[in-house]
Symmetry: C5
Amino acid sequence: MFLADVIGTVVSPVQHPILETETLLLLRPVTPDGSPTGRTRVGLDRAEAGVGDRVLVIDEGNSSRQILGSKGKDAPVKTIVVGVVDYVELGHELCYDHRTREPIGPRQEASR
Amino acid sequence: MFLADVIGTVVSPVQHPILETETLLLLRPVTPDGSPTGRTRVGLDRAEAGVGDRVLVIDEGNSSRQILGSKGKDAPVKTIVVGVVDYVELGHELCYDHRTREPIGPRQEASR
Amino acid sequence: MFLADVIGTVVSPVQHPILETETLLLLRPVTPDGSPTGRTRVGLDRAEAGVGDRVLVIDEGNSSRQILGSKGKDAPVKTIVVGVVDYVELGHELCYDHRTREPIGPRQEASR
Amino acid sequence: MFLADVIGTVVSPVQHPILETETLLLLRPVTPDGSPTGRTRVGLDRAEAGVGDRVLVIDEGNSSRQILGSKGKDAPVKTIVVGVVDYVELGHELCYDHRTREPIGPRQEASR
Amino acid sequence: MFLADVIGTVVSPVQHPILETETLLLLRPVTPDGSPTGRTRVGLDRAEAGVGDRVLVIDEGNSSRQILGSKGKDAPVKTIVVGVVDYVELGHELCYDHRTREPIGPRQEASR
Protein backbone atom coordinates (compact mmCIF):
# COMPACT_ATOMS: atom_id res chain seq x y z
CA MET A 1 0.00 0.00 0.00
CA PHE A 2 1.17 3.55 -0.53
CA LEU A 3 0.14 7.17 -0.04
CA ALA A 4 -0.96 9.29 -3.01
CA ASP A 5 -2.65 12.57 -3.86
CA VAL A 6 -5.68 12.61 -6.13
CA ILE A 7 -4.66 15.07 -8.85
CA GLY A 8 -7.27 14.57 -11.56
CA THR A 9 -9.50 12.19 -13.49
CA VAL A 10 -9.48 10.15 -16.69
CA VAL A 11 -12.44 9.55 -19.01
CA SER A 12 -12.27 6.48 -21.22
CA PRO A 13 -14.90 4.18 -22.73
CA VAL A 14 -13.28 1.12 -21.17
CA GLN A 15 -14.11 -2.11 -23.01
CA HIS A 16 -15.39 -3.98 -19.98
CA PRO A 17 -18.81 -3.80 -18.28
CA ILE A 18 -17.59 -3.38 -14.74
CA LEU A 19 -15.54 -0.29 -15.46
CA GLU A 20 -18.16 1.56 -17.47
CA THR A 21 -19.65 3.53 -14.60
CA GLU A 22 -16.49 3.92 -12.56
CA THR A 23 -14.60 7.10 -11.78
CA LEU A 24 -10.98 6.78 -12.84
CA LEU A 25 -8.74 8.86 -10.56
CA LEU A 26 -5.26 10.15 -11.39
CA LEU A 27 -3.10 9.22 -8.38
CA ARG A 28 0.30 10.78 -7.72
CA PRO A 29 2.33 8.78 -5.15
CA VAL A 30 3.79 10.93 -2.36
CA THR A 31 6.33 10.54 0.46
CA PRO A 32 5.10 10.76 4.09
CA ASP A 33 5.64 14.54 4.06
CA GLY A 34 3.91 15.00 0.71
CA SER A 35 6.68 15.19 -1.90
CA PRO A 36 5.85 13.51 -5.22
CA THR A 37 7.56 10.13 -5.70
CA GLY A 38 7.21 7.75 -8.59
CA ARG A 39 4.87 7.61 -11.53
CA THR A 40 1.24 8.67 -11.59
CA ARG A 41 -1.27 5.81 -11.71
CA VAL A 42 -4.92 5.52 -12.67
CA GLY A 43 -7.13 3.95 -10.00
CA LEU A 44 -10.73 3.24 -9.02
CA ASP A 45 -12.39 5.09 -6.15
CA ARG A 46 -13.69 3.12 -3.15
CA ALA A 47 -13.37 5.93 -0.61
CA GLU A 48 -15.39 8.81 -2.08
CA ALA A 49 -12.13 10.62 -2.70
CA GLY A 50 -11.85 13.80 -4.74
CA VAL A 51 -9.20 16.01 -6.30
CA GLY A 52 -6.93 17.33 -3.53
CA ASP A 53 -7.38 14.41 -1.12
CA ARG A 54 -4.44 12.40 0.19
CA VAL A 55 -5.38 8.75 -0.01
CA LEU A 56 -4.30 5.20 0.81
CA VAL A 57 -3.90 3.09 -2.34
CA ILE A 58 -3.62 -0.63 -3.04
CA ASP A 59 -1.92 -1.66 -6.22
CA GLU A 60 -2.38 -5.36 -6.82
CA GLY A 61 -4.74 -7.52 -8.80
CA ASN A 62 -5.84 -10.11 -6.29
CA SER A 63 -6.24 -7.76 -3.36
CA SER A 64 -8.15 -5.29 -5.45
CA ARG A 65 -10.71 -7.83 -6.47
CA GLN A 66 -11.51 -8.63 -2.84
CA ILE A 67 -12.73 -5.11 -2.25
CA LEU A 68 -15.04 -5.04 -5.24
CA GLY A 69 -17.16 -7.85 -3.87
CA SER A 70 -19.31 -9.83 -6.25
CA LYS A 71 -18.71 -7.43 -9.10
CA GLY A 72 -14.99 -7.95 -8.56
CA LYS A 73 -14.98 -11.47 -9.89
CA ASP A 74 -14.67 -10.20 -13.44
CA ALA A 75 -12.96 -6.89 -12.77
CA PRO A 76 -9.73 -6.20 -14.66
CA VAL A 77 -8.63 -3.68 -12.06
CA LYS A 78 -5.46 -3.34 -10.13
CA THR A 79 -5.18 0.07 -8.47
CA ILE A 80 -7.82 1.04 -5.89
CA VAL A 81 -8.23 3.94 -3.48
CA VAL A 82 -9.29 2.40 -0.16
CA GLY A 83 -9.22 5.36 2.20
CA VAL A 84 -8.86 9.11 2.52
CA VAL A 85 -6.01 9.83 4.95
CA ASP A 86 -6.78 11.78 8.14
CA TYR A 87 -3.32 11.98 9.73
CA VAL A 88 0.27 10.96 9.02
CA GLU A 89 2.81 10.85 11.83
CA LEU A 90 6.60 10.66 11.29
CA GLY A 91 8.19 9.35 14.47
CA HIS A 92 5.66 10.71 16.95
CA GLU A 93 5.08 14.09 15.28
CA LEU A 94 2.14 14.97 13.08
CA CYS A 95 3.29 15.71 9.51
CA TYR A 96 -0.06 15.70 7.71
CA ASP A 97 -3.52 16.68 8.88
CA HIS A 98 -6.42 16.30 6.47
CA ARG A 99 -8.25 19.37 7.82
CA THR A 100 -5.43 21.83 7.07
CA ARG A 101 -4.16 20.48 3.76
CA GLU A 102 -3.28 22.90 1.04
CA PRO A 103 -5.43 22.91 -2.10
CA ILE A 104 -3.64 21.31 -5.06
CA GLY A 105 -3.53 23.29 -8.29
CA PRO A 106 -3.90 21.68 -11.68
CA ARG A 107 -0.70 22.91 -13.36
CA GLN A 108 1.93 22.36 -10.74
CA GLU A 109 1.91 18.58 -10.74
CA ALA A 110 1.46 18.17 -14.48
CA SER A 111 4.99 17.10 -15.27
CA ARG A 112 5.60 14.86 -12.32
CA MET B 1 -3.51 0.88 -14.36
CA PHE B 2 -1.59 3.52 -16.23
CA LEU B 3 -1.77 5.80 -19.27
CA ALA B 4 0.26 5.04 -22.38
CA ASP B 5 0.61 6.04 -26.03
CA VAL B 6 0.45 3.41 -28.74
CA ILE B 7 3.69 3.98 -30.67
CA GLY B 8 4.00 0.90 -32.85
CA THR B 9 3.53 -2.84 -33.28
CA VAL B 10 5.50 -6.05 -32.87
CA VAL B 11 5.26 -9.11 -35.11
CA SER B 12 6.34 -12.41 -33.59
CA PRO B 13 5.31 -16.03 -34.18
CA VAL B 14 4.48 -16.49 -30.50
CA GLN B 15 4.62 -20.11 -29.37
CA HIS B 16 1.13 -20.22 -27.92
CA PRO B 17 -2.23 -20.67 -29.69
CA ILE B 18 -4.04 -17.77 -28.06
CA LEU B 19 -1.52 -15.18 -29.14
CA GLU B 20 -1.21 -16.26 -32.75
CA THR B 21 -3.88 -13.95 -34.14
CA GLU B 22 -3.37 -11.08 -31.73
CA THR B 23 -2.07 -7.61 -32.49
CA LEU B 24 0.90 -6.82 -30.26
CA LEU B 25 1.05 -3.09 -29.53
CA LEU B 26 4.11 -1.11 -28.44
CA LEU B 27 2.97 0.95 -25.45
CA ARG B 28 4.92 3.94 -24.12
CA PRO B 29 3.80 4.95 -20.59
CA VAL B 30 3.07 8.70 -20.26
CA THR B 31 2.42 11.18 -17.44
CA PRO B 32 -1.02 12.86 -17.25
CA ASP B 33 0.19 15.65 -19.53
CA GLY B 34 1.75 13.29 -22.03
CA SER B 35 5.47 13.16 -21.21
CA PRO B 36 7.08 9.74 -21.65
CA THR B 37 7.72 7.92 -18.34
CA GLY B 38 9.14 4.47 -17.85
CA ARG B 39 9.89 1.63 -20.20
CA THR B 40 7.94 0.69 -23.30
CA ARG B 41 5.83 -2.47 -22.96
CA VAL B 42 4.23 -4.85 -25.43
CA GLY B 43 0.50 -5.40 -24.90
CA LEU B 44 -2.62 -6.94 -26.40
CA ASP B 45 -5.38 -4.78 -27.84
CA ARG B 46 -8.90 -4.99 -26.35
CA ALA B 47 -9.97 -1.45 -27.29
CA GLU B 48 -9.46 -1.26 -31.05
CA ALA B 49 -6.56 1.09 -30.41
CA GLY B 50 -4.13 2.21 -33.10
CA VAL B 51 -0.82 4.03 -33.43
CA GLY B 52 -1.20 7.55 -31.98
CA ASP B 53 -3.96 6.73 -29.48
CA ARG B 54 -3.58 7.44 -25.77
CA VAL B 55 -4.85 4.42 -23.90
CA LEU B 56 -5.59 2.95 -20.47
CA VAL B 57 -3.47 -0.12 -19.76
CA ILE B 58 -3.61 -2.93 -17.21
CA ASP B 59 -0.39 -4.71 -16.45
CA GLU B 60 -1.05 -7.79 -14.35
CA GLY B 61 -1.52 -11.45 -15.03
CA ASN B 62 -4.65 -12.28 -13.11
CA SER B 63 -6.58 -9.17 -14.07
CA SER B 64 -5.62 -9.55 -17.69
CA ARG B 65 -7.00 -13.04 -17.90
CA GLN B 66 -10.39 -11.87 -16.68
CA ILE B 67 -10.81 -9.65 -19.70
CA LEU B 68 -9.99 -12.34 -22.23
CA GLY B 69 -12.99 -14.42 -21.22
CA SER B 70 -12.94 -18.12 -21.92
CA LYS B 71 -9.87 -17.88 -24.12
CA GLY B 72 -8.10 -16.21 -21.23
CA LYS B 73 -7.87 -19.37 -19.17
CA ASP B 74 -4.75 -20.42 -21.02
CA ALA B 75 -3.44 -17.02 -22.01
CA PRO B 76 0.12 -16.17 -21.06
CA VAL B 77 -0.61 -12.44 -21.24
CA LYS B 78 0.01 -9.69 -18.80
CA THR B 79 -0.31 -6.28 -20.46
CA ILE B 80 -3.67 -5.33 -22.00
CA VAL B 81 -5.09 -2.15 -23.52
CA VAL B 82 -8.58 -1.78 -22.05
CA GLY B 83 -9.65 1.63 -23.31
CA VAL B 84 -8.82 4.54 -25.60
CA VAL B 85 -8.73 7.71 -23.47
CA ASP B 86 -11.20 10.52 -24.30
CA TYR B 87 -10.21 13.12 -21.70
CA VAL B 88 -7.68 13.65 -18.90
CA GLU B 89 -8.26 16.34 -16.28
CA LEU B 90 -5.56 17.62 -13.91
CA GLY B 91 -7.24 19.27 -10.96
CA HIS B 92 -10.37 20.46 -12.72
CA GLU B 93 -8.73 21.55 -15.98
CA LEU B 94 -8.70 19.55 -19.18
CA CYS B 95 -5.13 18.53 -20.10
CA TYR B 96 -5.83 15.97 -22.81
CA ASP B 97 -8.61 15.74 -25.35
CA HIS B 98 -8.68 12.78 -27.73
CA ARG B 99 -10.14 14.85 -30.60
CA THR B 100 -7.29 17.38 -30.71
CA ARG B 101 -4.32 15.15 -30.03
CA GLU B 102 -1.16 15.64 -32.02
CA PRO B 103 -0.14 12.88 -34.42
CA ILE B 104 2.82 10.89 -33.11
CA GLY B 105 5.76 10.43 -35.48
CA PRO B 106 7.74 7.22 -35.66
CA ARG B 107 11.25 8.53 -35.05
CA GLN B 108 10.80 10.88 -32.12
CA GLU B 109 9.97 8.28 -29.49
CA ALA B 110 12.39 5.66 -30.68
CA SER B 111 14.93 6.05 -27.92
CA ARG B 112 12.61 6.52 -24.99
CA MET C 1 10.99 -9.78 1.39
CA PHE C 2 12.99 -6.73 2.37
CA LEU C 3 14.30 -4.85 5.39
CA ALA C 4 12.69 -1.57 6.50
CA ASP C 5 12.60 0.87 9.38
CA VAL C 6 9.29 1.79 10.98
CA ILE C 7 9.28 5.60 10.77
CA GLY C 8 5.69 6.55 11.60
CA THR C 9 2.00 5.78 11.30
CA VAL C 10 -0.98 6.62 9.09
CA VAL C 11 -4.56 7.16 10.25
CA SER C 12 -7.26 6.64 7.66
CA PRO C 13 -10.91 5.52 7.86
CA VAL C 14 -10.30 2.74 5.34
CA GLN C 15 -13.47 1.65 3.56
CA HIS C 16 -13.17 -2.02 4.41
CA PRO C 17 -14.11 -3.83 7.65
CA ILE C 18 -10.89 -5.77 8.09
CA LEU C 19 -8.68 -2.70 8.08
CA GLU C 20 -10.73 -0.62 10.50
CA THR C 21 -8.90 -1.65 13.66
CA GLU C 22 -5.47 -2.08 12.13
CA THR C 23 -2.36 -0.03 12.78
CA LEU C 24 -0.95 1.29 9.52
CA LEU C 25 2.84 1.63 9.74
CA LEU C 26 5.05 3.87 7.58
CA LEU C 27 7.89 1.63 6.37
CA ARG C 28 11.13 3.00 4.92
CA PRO C 29 13.11 0.30 3.04
CA VAL C 30 16.79 0.15 4.06
CA THR C 31 19.98 -1.52 2.81
CA PRO C 32 21.64 -4.17 5.02
CA ASP C 33 23.68 -1.46 6.79
CA GLY C 34 20.70 0.81 7.30
CA SER C 35 20.80 3.39 4.48
CA PRO C 36 17.39 4.38 3.10
CA THR C 37 16.60 2.78 -0.28
CA GLY C 38 13.44 3.11 -2.31
CA ARG C 39 10.03 4.54 -1.56
CA THR C 40 8.24 4.48 1.78
CA ARG C 41 5.32 2.04 1.98
CA VAL C 42 2.33 1.69 4.26
CA GLY C 43 1.96 -1.73 5.87
CA LEU C 44 0.06 -3.71 8.49
CA ASP C 45 1.73 -4.82 11.71
CA ARG C 46 1.96 -8.55 12.51
CA ALA C 47 5.06 -8.32 14.69
CA GLU C 48 4.19 -5.80 17.41
CA ALA C 49 6.62 -3.39 15.78
CA GLY C 50 6.92 0.25 16.76
CA VAL C 51 8.56 3.44 15.53
CA GLY C 52 12.34 2.91 15.44
CA ASP C 53 12.28 -0.85 14.88
CA ARG C 54 14.02 -2.48 11.92
CA VAL C 55 11.66 -5.04 10.47
CA LEU C 56 11.24 -7.77 7.87
CA VAL C 57 8.50 -6.94 5.37
CA ILE C 58 6.53 -8.93 2.80
CA ASP C 59 5.04 -7.03 -0.09
CA GLU C 60 2.67 -9.21 -2.04
CA GLY C 61 -1.04 -9.82 -2.09
CA ASN C 62 -1.28 -13.58 -1.98
CA SER C 63 1.41 -14.14 0.61
CA SER C 64 0.01 -11.41 2.79
CA ARG C 65 -3.38 -13.02 2.94
CA GLN C 66 -1.88 -16.25 4.23
CA ILE C 67 -0.64 -14.54 7.34
CA LEU C 68 -3.94 -12.90 8.19
CA GLY C 69 -5.64 -16.25 8.61
CA SER C 70 -9.40 -16.42 8.33
CA LYS C 71 -9.79 -12.67 8.36
CA GLY C 72 -7.40 -12.54 5.42
CA LYS C 73 -9.85 -14.01 2.96
CA ASP C 74 -11.37 -10.61 2.32
CA ALA C 75 -8.39 -8.44 3.15
CA PRO C 76 -7.27 -5.93 0.55
CA VAL C 77 -3.77 -5.81 2.00
CA LYS C 78 -0.42 -6.23 0.39
CA THR C 79 2.38 -5.00 2.68
CA ILE C 80 2.86 -6.74 6.01
CA VAL C 81 5.48 -6.53 8.76
CA VAL C 82 6.26 -10.14 9.71
CA GLY C 83 9.16 -9.74 12.13
CA VAL C 84 11.30 -7.34 14.11
CA VAL C 85 14.95 -7.90 13.13
CA ASP C 86 17.40 -9.00 15.87
CA TYR C 87 20.64 -9.18 13.85
CA VAL C 88 21.94 -8.57 10.34
CA GLU C 89 25.27 -10.04 9.25
CA LEU C 90 27.17 -8.95 6.14
CA GLY C 91 29.59 -11.71 5.21
CA HIS C 92 30.22 -13.07 8.67
CA GLU C 93 30.34 -9.74 10.53
CA LEU C 94 27.50 -8.26 12.54
CA CYS C 95 26.27 -5.00 10.95
CA TYR C 96 23.03 -4.51 12.89
CA ASP C 97 22.10 -5.42 16.44
CA HIS C 98 18.58 -4.65 17.64
CA ARG C 99 19.74 -3.90 21.19
CA THR C 100 22.10 -1.07 20.22
CA ARG C 101 20.12 0.61 17.44
CA GLU C 102 20.03 4.38 17.32
CA PRO C 103 16.68 6.11 17.94
CA ILE C 104 15.13 7.46 14.72
CA GLY C 105 13.99 11.09 14.77
CA PRO C 106 10.85 12.24 13.02
CA ARG C 107 12.29 14.97 10.80
CA GLN C 108 15.35 13.37 9.33
CA GLU C 109 13.64 10.78 7.19
CA ALA C 110 10.76 13.00 6.10
CA SER C 111 11.98 13.61 2.57
CA ARG C 112 13.21 10.15 1.78
CA MET D 1 5.32 -8.35 -21.85
CA PHE D 2 8.53 -6.77 -23.04
CA LEU D 3 11.22 -7.04 -25.70
CA ALA D 4 14.63 -8.44 -24.88
CA ASP D 5 17.81 -9.70 -26.50
CA VAL D 6 19.15 -13.14 -25.64
CA ILE D 7 22.73 -12.41 -24.56
CA GLY D 8 23.86 -15.63 -22.92
CA THR D 9 23.03 -18.63 -20.77
CA VAL D 10 23.20 -19.71 -17.12
CA VAL D 11 24.05 -23.19 -15.85
CA SER D 12 22.79 -24.04 -12.38
CA PRO D 13 21.77 -27.32 -10.69
CA VAL D 14 18.39 -25.88 -9.73
CA GLN D 15 16.82 -27.63 -6.75
CA HIS D 16 13.53 -28.44 -8.47
CA PRO D 17 12.74 -31.31 -10.88
CA ILE D 18 11.02 -29.24 -13.54
CA LEU D 19 13.96 -26.92 -14.09
CA GLU D 20 16.64 -29.59 -14.27
CA THR D 21 16.58 -30.04 -18.03
CA GLU D 22 15.72 -26.47 -18.95
CA THR D 23 17.88 -23.96 -20.77
CA LEU D 24 18.23 -20.79 -18.71
CA LEU D 25 18.62 -17.75 -20.99
CA LEU D 26 20.15 -14.40 -20.04
CA LEU D 27 17.67 -11.78 -21.25
CA ARG D 28 18.57 -8.10 -21.65
CA PRO D 29 15.46 -5.88 -21.96
CA VAL D 30 15.61 -3.45 -24.90
CA THR D 31 13.66 -0.42 -26.16
CA PRO D 32 11.77 -0.71 -29.48
CA ASP D 33 14.88 0.43 -31.37
CA GLY D 34 17.18 -1.93 -29.51
CA SER D 35 18.84 0.12 -26.77
CA PRO D 36 19.38 -1.74 -23.48
CA THR D 37 16.88 -0.78 -20.76
CA GLY D 38 16.59 -2.22 -17.29
CA ARG D 39 18.18 -5.18 -15.60
CA THR D 40 19.09 -8.48 -17.20
CA ARG D 41 16.81 -11.39 -16.24
CA VAL D 42 17.11 -15.14 -16.39
CA GLY D 43 14.30 -16.89 -18.26
CA LEU D 44 13.14 -20.21 -19.67
CA ASP D 45 13.00 -20.81 -23.41
CA ARG D 46 9.66 -21.67 -25.06
CA ALA D 47 10.52 -20.28 -28.51
CA GLU D 48 13.70 -22.11 -29.52
CA ALA D 49 15.55 -18.83 -29.08
CA GLY D 50 19.33 -18.52 -29.15
CA VAL D 51 22.03 -15.99 -28.39
CA GLY D 52 21.51 -12.94 -30.62
CA ASP D 53 17.74 -13.27 -31.03
CA ARG D 54 15.35 -10.48 -30.10
CA VAL D 55 12.48 -12.04 -28.21
CA LEU D 56 9.11 -11.39 -26.59
CA VAL D 57 9.19 -12.12 -22.85
CA ILE D 58 6.55 -12.63 -20.16
CA ASP D 59 7.56 -11.95 -16.61
CA GLU D 60 4.87 -13.14 -14.23
CA GLY D 61 4.28 -16.25 -12.18
CA ASN D 62 0.70 -17.10 -13.02
CA SER D 63 0.94 -16.43 -16.73
CA SER D 64 4.16 -18.35 -17.00
CA ARG D 65 2.66 -21.46 -15.51
CA GLN D 66 -0.09 -21.48 -18.14
CA ILE D 67 2.42 -21.88 -20.91
CA LEU D 68 4.22 -24.80 -19.33
CA GLY D 69 1.12 -26.96 -19.51
CA SER D 70 0.81 -29.89 -17.15
CA LYS D 71 4.42 -29.65 -16.04
CA GLY D 72 3.75 -26.03 -15.10
CA LYS D 73 1.63 -26.91 -12.11
CA ASP D 74 4.71 -27.28 -9.94
CA ALA D 75 7.04 -24.94 -11.77
CA PRO D 76 8.69 -22.20 -9.77
CA VAL D 77 9.25 -20.10 -12.88
CA LYS D 78 8.43 -16.53 -13.62
CA THR D 79 10.26 -15.31 -16.75
CA ILE D 80 9.56 -17.05 -20.06
CA VAL D 81 10.54 -16.39 -23.67
CA VAL D 82 7.37 -16.87 -25.72
CA GLY D 83 8.44 -15.75 -29.19
CA VAL D 84 11.32 -14.71 -31.40
CA VAL D 85 10.51 -11.28 -32.87
CA ASP D 86 10.25 -10.96 -36.66
CA TYR D 87 9.49 -7.23 -37.00
CA VAL D 88 9.08 -4.13 -34.84
CA GLU D 89 7.36 -1.04 -36.25
CA LEU D 90 7.53 2.41 -34.63
CA GLY D 91 4.63 4.47 -35.94
CA HIS D 92 4.31 2.86 -39.35
CA GLU D 93 8.02 2.47 -40.08
CA LEU D 94 10.00 -0.72 -39.68
CA CYS D 95 12.66 -0.33 -36.98
CA TYR D 96 13.69 -3.97 -36.50
CA ASP D 97 13.83 -6.84 -38.96
CA HIS D 98 14.91 -10.25 -37.71
CA ARG D 99 16.64 -11.13 -41.00
CA THR D 100 19.06 -8.19 -40.94
CA ARG D 101 19.88 -8.02 -37.25
CA GLU D 102 23.45 -7.44 -36.22
CA PRO D 103 25.23 -10.27 -34.42
CA ILE D 104 25.61 -9.56 -30.71
CA GLY D 105 29.11 -9.96 -29.26
CA PRO D 106 29.76 -11.36 -25.81
CA ARG D 107 31.78 -8.54 -24.26
CA GLN D 108 29.87 -5.43 -25.30
CA GLU D 109 26.77 -6.02 -23.21
CA ALA D 110 28.55 -7.42 -20.18
CA SER D 111 28.15 -4.40 -17.96
CA ARG D 112 24.60 -3.46 -18.82
CA MET E 1 14.28 -14.97 -12.12
CA PHE E 2 17.52 -13.14 -11.54
CA LEU E 3 21.13 -13.65 -10.48
CA ALA E 4 22.31 -12.56 -7.03
CA ASP E 5 25.21 -12.93 -4.63
CA VAL E 6 24.60 -14.16 -1.10
CA ILE E 7 26.18 -11.42 1.03
CA GLY E 8 24.92 -12.16 4.54
CA THR E 9 22.10 -13.30 6.78
CA VAL E 10 19.24 -11.85 8.80
CA VAL E 11 18.03 -13.10 12.19
CA SER E 12 14.45 -12.24 13.10
CA PRO E 13 11.82 -13.98 15.26
CA VAL E 14 9.32 -13.97 12.39
CA GLN E 15 5.71 -14.18 13.58
CA HIS E 16 4.78 -17.20 11.49
CA PRO E 17 5.46 -20.90 12.18
CA ILE E 18 6.86 -21.79 8.79
CA LEU E 19 9.61 -19.20 8.90
CA GLU E 20 10.81 -19.93 12.40
CA THR E 21 13.49 -22.45 11.45
CA GLU E 22 14.44 -20.91 8.13
CA THR E 23 17.72 -19.26 7.19
CA LEU E 24 17.10 -15.77 5.86
CA LEU E 25 19.73 -14.84 3.26
CA LEU E 26 20.75 -11.32 2.21
CA LEU E 27 20.71 -11.37 -1.60
CA ARG E 28 22.42 -8.71 -3.72
CA PRO E 29 21.22 -8.78 -7.37
CA VAL E 30 24.07 -8.76 -9.91
CA THR E 31 24.49 -8.32 -13.65
CA PRO E 32 25.75 -11.29 -15.72
CA ASP E 33 29.36 -10.21 -15.13
CA GLY E 34 28.84 -9.70 -11.41
CA SER E 35 28.29 -5.96 -10.89
CA PRO E 36 25.72 -5.08 -8.21
CA THR E 37 22.35 -3.98 -9.62
CA GLY E 38 19.25 -3.08 -7.71
CA ARG E 39 18.28 -3.38 -4.07
CA THR E 40 19.28 -6.15 -1.70
CA ARG E 41 16.49 -8.59 -0.83
CA VAL E 42 15.94 -11.09 1.94
CA GLY E 43 15.19 -14.63 0.74
CA LEU E 44 14.80 -18.23 1.88
CA ASP E 45 17.39 -20.86 1.02
CA ARG E 46 16.36 -23.90 -1.07
CA ALA E 47 19.77 -24.57 -2.58
CA GLU E 48 22.07 -24.96 0.42
CA ALA E 49 23.65 -21.65 -0.54
CA GLY E 50 26.11 -19.77 1.64
CA VAL E 51 27.80 -16.39 1.86
CA GLY E 52 29.85 -15.83 -1.31
CA ASP E 53 27.75 -18.01 -3.62
CA ARG E 54 26.21 -16.67 -6.82
CA VAL E 55 22.65 -17.92 -6.98
CA LEU E 56 19.49 -18.06 -9.08
CA VAL E 57 16.56 -16.36 -7.33
CA ILE E 58 12.81 -16.36 -7.81
CA ASP E 59 10.89 -13.39 -6.51
CA GLU E 60 7.18 -14.04 -6.62
CA GLY E 61 4.57 -15.24 -4.17
CA ASN E 62 2.79 -17.92 -6.11
CA SER E 63 5.86 -19.51 -7.64
CA SER E 64 7.64 -19.49 -4.32
CA ARG E 65 4.91 -21.44 -2.63
CA GLN E 66 5.18 -24.22 -5.24
CA ILE E 67 8.73 -24.94 -4.21
CA LEU E 68 7.97 -25.19 -0.51
CA GLY E 69 5.67 -28.15 -1.05
CA SER E 70 3.05 -28.90 1.54
CA LYS E 71 4.51 -26.48 4.04
CA GLY E 72 4.21 -23.78 1.38
CA LYS E 73 0.45 -23.61 1.61
CA ASP E 74 0.65 -21.23 4.53
CA ALA E 75 3.99 -19.65 3.79
CA PRO E 76 4.15 -15.88 3.59
CA VAL E 77 7.31 -16.02 1.49
CA LYS E 78 8.16 -14.40 -1.78
CA THR E 79 11.92 -14.53 -2.46
CA ILE E 80 13.57 -17.94 -2.76
CA VAL E 81 17.05 -19.13 -3.74
CA VAL E 82 16.51 -22.07 -6.11
CA GLY E 83 20.03 -22.83 -7.30
CA VAL E 84 23.71 -22.10 -6.87
CA VAL E 85 25.10 -20.99 -10.24
CA ASP E 86 27.87 -23.10 -11.84
CA TYR E 87 28.50 -21.09 -15.03
CA VAL E 88 27.34 -17.92 -16.77
CA GLU E 89 28.04 -17.41 -20.47
CA LEU E 90 27.72 -14.06 -22.26
CA GLY E 91 27.38 -14.72 -25.97
CA HIS E 92 29.36 -17.93 -26.13
CA GLU E 93 32.13 -16.95 -23.71
CA LEU E 94 32.32 -18.00 -20.09
CA CYS E 95 32.03 -14.96 -17.79
CA TYR E 96 31.48 -16.69 -14.45
CA ASP E 97 32.75 -20.01 -13.15
CA HIS E 98 31.69 -21.12 -9.68
CA ARG E 99 35.02 -22.84 -8.98
CA THR E 100 37.16 -19.72 -9.45
CA ARG E 101 34.92 -17.10 -7.89
CA GLU E 102 36.47 -14.47 -5.70
CA PRO E 103 35.57 -14.50 -2.01
CA ILE E 104 33.19 -11.68 -1.09
CA GLY E 105 34.18 -9.52 1.90
CA PRO E 106 31.65 -8.23 4.39
CA ARG E 107 32.37 -4.50 4.22
CA GLN E 108 32.64 -3.83 0.52
CA GLU E 109 29.00 -4.42 -0.37
CA ALA E 110 27.54 -2.83 2.72
CA SER E 111 26.33 0.36 1.06
CA ARG E 112 25.01 -1.11 -2.16
